[in-house]
């Protein structure tokens, strides 16, 4: 520091510090590595990955986010890349693979400029500018088109292109139908705002067994519970439903209360009181003549007895989230104190209550709801791992359907939009002044990675395909892309492959911003606080000696 003779130790010696060009190249490589991991998961000819976690569990998936979540990486820049897949998943649900591949490619094309000693800031500026232009282009009518929400045909096409790239692709029609229906059910329009909360109101229930074709959306709910007593009715049409979230059994007060019993009779009196309490609760419920009582907590044998005598079926220990869904689907209010039960609190929206035995377990079905607003997606399939993958696929499809409702605009899929943007940006690059032009053009070319990967994954002739695709776009045919099935060039309009604009926008934004962030880094300091171990080791013997 002060230029003394011997080296002065300033930093903790355990820290490793790397800086300069090496770090930049390292970051770029880390980004490319992560992109390579999931490169084969893009497009209709995508492959599944099988991942084993430390506990021995298996995940089989082609979902970018699910793969990256499972792998543990060391390099900090790689962690960045993994984070963006998560962001993409949470924000729009689909496009997790594309975003990582694109970000990796954008980093890769920056490498040549760093080699040419270009300042990262200049590259960054060019990237940001290109992003702005790209987003502007995307919003223009030439590239995107509005979709009429009532045009079911079109909606199905969009969802199909999303599902088409996944495992569920073979069952495309069914998946589209499920996603469409589910989203339609849970959509709530209040005034001019549309609320679609997939996470909360659409539950995906997986039951191994059966065929994948048996998957369906219930116009109501299903959960893994049985009535508490075998003698209770298992099938009720148009049940009157009461939801409670208190236990139907005696519960002590919160405060600590001790009772000093003086007389002998007092003890039995106390027990009687407890019984009386349960009896009163049940009487309150029975007074409303329900057919079905569902509680989040326990039900004592005594209460069961009273209720079953009144011909009421009881289901206990339902999850809070399930109870909320039931409440929404049936129109019942969740009640905490039975004294306050009112006629309005009884739900009558359910058409049929039925308990079915599927496989080895009993499942409660509440179907035929008049105005469900919440639903269960029932998935069937040969194995649990497969069902998990189907769930992830459907989750993506649900998100796509949701995005379509919220912002009904689509762009051409199959790499067509990337190609068109790339072409338009390269044209624009000619008007960019100074050396910024180079990275600007590079970013435009980086977009071509999507059609290229598509072609690669289906074993097409990449070079011939890309050049002819470029030629098509230069001629102004903006909807031409790669047919991911055959690896041929075709018009996406004819093939009917569309992707939601919201997803694409998010992909570009996230990819560019991540690339920018990683390019800005010129120093990595890692590993510290290792000292503790040493001092701990030093202290150990003394402890032992004390023991002796």
């Amino acid at each position: 520091m002060m230029g003394g003779g011997q080296p002065v130790i300033v930093l903790n010696q355990n820290t490793r510090r790397e800086s300069g060009r090496k770090v930049q190249l390292q970051n770029i490589n880390a980004g490319k590595m992560i992109a390579d991991v999931i490169r084969t998961c893009l497009g209709p000819r995508s492959m599944l990955k099988m991942l084993m976690d430390p506990m021995g569990g298996i995940v089989m998936t082609s979902d970018g986010n699910a793969i990256l979540r499972e792998i543990t990486v060391q390099h900090p820049a790689a962690k960045h890349m993994i984070e963006i897949a998560r962001t993409q998943d949470e924000e729009v649900g689909d496009g997790t693979t594309s975003v990582v591949i694109l970000a990796g490619e954008m980093l890769a094309v920056a490498e040549q400029f760093l080699d040419a000693k270009m300042h990262p800031i200049i590259i960054i500026q060019a990237y940001r500018q290109a992003l702005e232009d790209a987003l502007e282009l995307l919003n223009s009518d030439e590239f995107s088109m509005k979709v009429d929400l009532d045009d079911e045909q079109k909606m199905v096409e969009v969802i199909r292109s999303c599902v088409g790239t996944k495992f569920l692709g073979q069952y495309g029609d069914m998946a589209c139908r499920i996603a469409m229906e589910a989203v339609k059910i849970i959509t709530v329009e209040t005034g001019n705002t549309v609320e679609i909360d997939v996470k909360k109101w659409a539950r995906i229930e997986k039951i191994p067994g059966g065929r994948i074709e048996d998957c369906c959306v219930l116009d109501g709910l299903m959960f893994n519970k049985d009535v508490t007593h075998p003698s209770m009715r298992r099938r009720i049409e148009k049940p009157r439903l009461i939801l409670v979230d208190c236990p139907l059994e005696y519960k002590k007060g919160e405060s600590q209360t001790n009772v000093e019993i003086t007389g002998e009779t007092d003890f039995s009196k106390m027990l009687e009181l407890e019984e009386e309490h349960v009896r009163a609760q049940c009487a309150d419920i029975i007074a409303l003549k329900p057919d079905l009582v569902i509680t989040e907590k326990g039900v004592s044998d005594l209460a069961q007895h009273f209720l079953s005598k009144a011909n009421i079926s009881v289901i206990r220990r339902v999850k809070k989230s399930d109870n909320n869904r039931i409440s929404r689907a049936s129109g019942a209010t969740i009640i905490n104190r039975t004294e306050e039960l009112k006629e309005e609190d009884v739900g009558t929206g359910v058409g049929l209550f039925e308990i079915k035995k599927i496989g080895d377990e009993y499942f409660t079905f509440l179907t035929g709801c008049t105005n469900p607003k919440a639903c269960t997606l029932l998935l069937r399939g040969p194995s649990k791992d497969l069902l998990n993958e189907v769930e992830r696929n459907l989750h993506d499809a649900l998100f796509v359907a949701r995005n379509m409702r919220l912002s009904p605009a689509v762009v051409a899929g199959g790499g067509a939009i990337e190609m068109a943007l790339s072409h338009a940006l390269q044209e624009k690059a000619k008007s960019v002044s100074g050396i910024k032009q180079w990275p600007y053009t590079a970013l435009a070319q980086a977009l071509e990675v999507i059609p290229r990967t598509l072609a690669q994954n289906c074993g097409g002739n990449i070079i011939r395909l890309l050049t002819s695709l470029r030629a098509k776009h230069a001629a102004g045919e903006k909807t031409f892309g790669v047919n991911g099935e055959t690896g041929e060039l075709c018009d996406m309009k004819e093939l009917r492959i569309w992707e939601p604009l919201a997803v694409k926008q998010q992909v570009y934004k996230t990819a560019v911003e991540t690339a920018v962030m990683l390019l800005r880094i010129d120093d990595i300091v890692s590993g510290s606080k290792k000292m503790k171990e040493e001092s701990g080791a030093g202290a150990m013997p003394t402890d032992e000696s004390m023991m002796q």
């Binding site: 520091m1 002060m2 002065v8 130790i9 300033v10 930093l11 903790n12 820290t15 900090p76 962690k79 960045h80 984070e83 963006i84 962001t87 949470e90 924000e91 300042h119 990262p120 800031i121 960054i124 500026q125 992003l131 909360k200 979230d245 519960k251 007060g253 919160e254 405060s255 600590q256 209360t257 001790n258 009772v259 019993i261 003890f267 106390m270 009386e276 309490h277 209010t333 969740i334 905490n336 306050e340 998010q506 990819a511 911003e513 991540t514 962030m517 800005r520 880094i521 120093d523 990595i524 300091v525 890692s526 590993g527 510290s528 606080k529 001092s535 030093g538 013997p541 003394t542 000696s545």
Partner: protein, 514 residues
């Protein structure tokens, strides 16, 4: 146009930043003298909020220069005296000659100052967008200090981070954003003309304090106690609702049994809010944060006067989360910034940058004066101090000259970081400032600073590159002080950890002496 550092700690958590104070805090610096510099950065961060990197660079350069002087057998005390004098002169010169009042420049200069600090940060490309946002936020939380001036408690600007979307889609909310969700889905998502009650206690079944027992002799009373427990809370809720509250925020929990009453009264209830948040909300809406409902008479009442008001309370979905937004509070305006970005690291760094920018805006608005950035001040000071040094005939002359030389490290670092030629630009800059100080007709040239994008020298006053004057003065003062502290040291005694003792003991024991 600086670059970022990536810091990985032992757990593997990653921080990406270019904020000097943050970097140094995360680095585990061991050398005692180096620690002084780290603390220096932290001090600057607390005092001004910006310029943490510059202060460390200047201090280090001052030490380097001092080292040269010491080698020439100049006693450190002379150097210290010289540095002190130079620092004093420099501050005086900044205040008298270099500051520009914001009144002369108009409102735009505040935004410009915010943009200047952001230009080196991750959000540099969107600095215009964020600059405006930061200034709006600072204006929103402005409070009069009663003496005609204003204070800007920037801590009142609530910054929330949510990944997703892009940086451009960050929003400034006129009101307060709360990272909580409503207690029950059956409640309304939107209340217009909200009356807000802020509670610092739980709306749960009343429970005796620990250690208090109730002894009953009549078993029938047991049921009554149970009943009462539930009723106490119910009564409380009803008192609050009766006072007209339709938004209830509490730091504690809300039992499911109470939710129904809120739902029936069309009110929003939010549980487990943070206390700091509630305090600010209470301030902004004019509500009182109640810790109990008891009044002096020992009865439980809920005064209507302790309700706060806001135009609108809504729950909105952002990314995967839901936020409660309290819009347009009645008593005082508040501001919240919701930052969006591709991942959490990015958002963290954005938050730091926004914080710096807010600090700068506050300083500019409080002091009403700015200086020109882009190395202009340092170059001017360097020229001035060199001239000043020649007027002195004492030994301090050398030290002051060294001080002047050291200041040039700022423009030259700027130039190098922008990948330009420092040997070409810095002398050019100096010559401009020299002529501005020597010839009266070239006075305007004192605003000349670096243009790092183009790699030229330009009038930074025109270009709108400003920094708060106070930041520069503090930087110089802190850097000089730190340098002096270190210069004063001529001996270092390191106390070895006491482990030695133990090993002696062990050795002795092993040798059978014990």
């Amino acid at each position: 146009v600086g670059l970022d550092k990536m810091i990985v700690d032992d757990v593997g958590d990653v921080t990406v930043t270019n904020d000097g104070a943050t970097i140094l805090k995360l680095l585990e610096v061991e050398h005692p003298a180096a620690r002084v510099l780290v603390e220096l950065a932290q001090l600057q961060d607390e005092e001004v909020g910006d310029g943490t990197t510059s202060v460390v660079i200047i201090a280090a350069e001052l030490l380097k220069a001092a080292d040269e002087l010491v080698k020439q057998k100049i006693h450190p005390t002379s150097i210290i005296a010289g540095y002190k004098l130079a620092c004093k002169e420099a501050c005086r010169y900044i205040q008298n000659n270099l500051t520009i009042s914001t009144d002369d420049l108009g409102k735009d200069c505040i935004v410009a100052a915010a943009r200047t600090t952001m230009s080196s940060k991750v959000i540099s490309v969107d600095s215009e967008f964020f600059g405006q946002m930061v200034v709006d936020a600072a204006m929103a939380v402005r409070v009069s200090d009663g003496k005609g001036g204003y204070k800007y408690p920037i801590k009142a600007v609530n910054i929330l981070k949510a990944h997703g979307r892009s940086a451009r889609e960050s929003v400034l909310i006129d009101g307060y954003a709360l990272n909580c969700t409503i207690a029950s889905h059956a409640m309304k998502k939107k209340v217009i003309g909200a009356k807000i009650a802020c509670l610092d206690f739980s709306l749960q079944k009343e429970k005796m304090k620990l250690g208090i027992q109730i002894l009953l002799s009549d078993p029938t009373k047991l049921e009554a106690i149970r009943q009462r427990e539930a009723d106490i809370t119910k009564e409380r809720v009803q008192k609050i609702l009766k006072a007209g509250a339709n938004v209830v925020l509490t730091t504690g929990g809300i039992d499911d049994l109470c939710l129904k009453y809120f739902v029936e009264a069309d009110a929003i209830a939010v549980r487990r809010c943070k206390k700091v948040d509630l305090k600010r909300i209470a301030k902004a809406t004019g509500a009182t944060l109640l810790t109990t409902l008891c009044n002096l008479e020992g009865e439980e009442v809920f005064e209507v006067s302790s309700l706060g008001e806001a135009a609108e309370v809504t729950q909105e979905r952002i990314c995967d989360d839901e936020l409660i937004l309290i819009k347009r509070p009645a008593a005082r305006s508040a501001a919240s910034i919701i930052l969006r970005g591709p991942n959490d690291f990015y958002c963290d760094e954005m938050e730091r940058s926004i914080h710096d920018a807010l600090c700068v805006v506050r300083r500019v608005m409080e002091s009403n004066s700015v200086v020109v950035g882009g190395g202009a001040v340092e170059a001017a000071l360097s020229v001035y101090l060199e001239n000043f040094a020649t007027t002195l005939s004492s030994r301090e002359q050398l030290a002051i000259a060294a001080f002047a030389e050291s200041l040039l490290v700022i423009p030259s670092t700027l130039v190098i970081n922008a990948a330009r030629d420092a040997t070409e630009l810095v002398p050019k800059l100096r010559s401009f400032h020299h002529s501005s100080q020597v010839k009266a007709e070239h006075e305007k040239l004192k605003y000349y600073g670096l243009d790092l994008m183009e790699g030229t020298v330009r009038d930074n006053r025109e270009a709108g590159v400003f920094e708060p004057g106070i930041s520069k003065i503090k930087q110089l003062k802190f850097a000089t002080e730190a340098a002096i502290t270190i210069l004063r040291i001529d001996d270092m005694i390191r106390l070895d950890p006491e482990q030695k003792e133990e090993s002696h003991y062990q050795k002795a024991r092993q040798q059978g002496m014990l």
